[in-house]
Assembly symmetry: C2
Homo-oligomer: 77 residues x 2
């Protein structure tokens, strides 16, 4: 019997608000798969440990990824 | 008494090998913090659930992030 291919995305609601990179504990990127047809981006907030789903298409997320790449080149040896 | 600021990076060994985006379950980006002075990138492999630390400076990681952005624009509605 084939496995049932039900939609199992992590994110239900997605936020479009900008996120401060300094307030983030981590950012998870979950690629599209058989379970969820689109990429999911989940930000964990440092203080509250709240997990927020972000819109991968938004400027906020693009800026976040850019911010991390800048941080890399500044701080890594 | 102040908190001790010990180094608590997640990654000990870092791989430079290229990673196939299709084989990944998720990618975690942990920004530099008081606990770890550099960005950490952790890839979870689908089949084995193995977590691999990647070099944020490597072409492989830059290509991964690019691959995800392409996937986004292709698959999201």
């Amino acid at each position: 019997m084939p496995h049932a291919r039900t939609v199992r995305c992590v994110c239900i609601t997605i936020r479009n608000q900008p996120v401060n990179p300094r307030s983030l504990e981590k950012l998870e990127i979950i690629p599209a798969s058989q379970f969820c047809p689109h990429v999911e981006i989940i930000a964990t907030v440092k203080k509250t440990k709240e997990r927020r789903c972000l819109n991968p298409e938004s400027k906020a997320v693009k800026n976040l990824l850019k911010a991390f790449s800048k941080e890399r080149s500044k701080r890594s040896p």
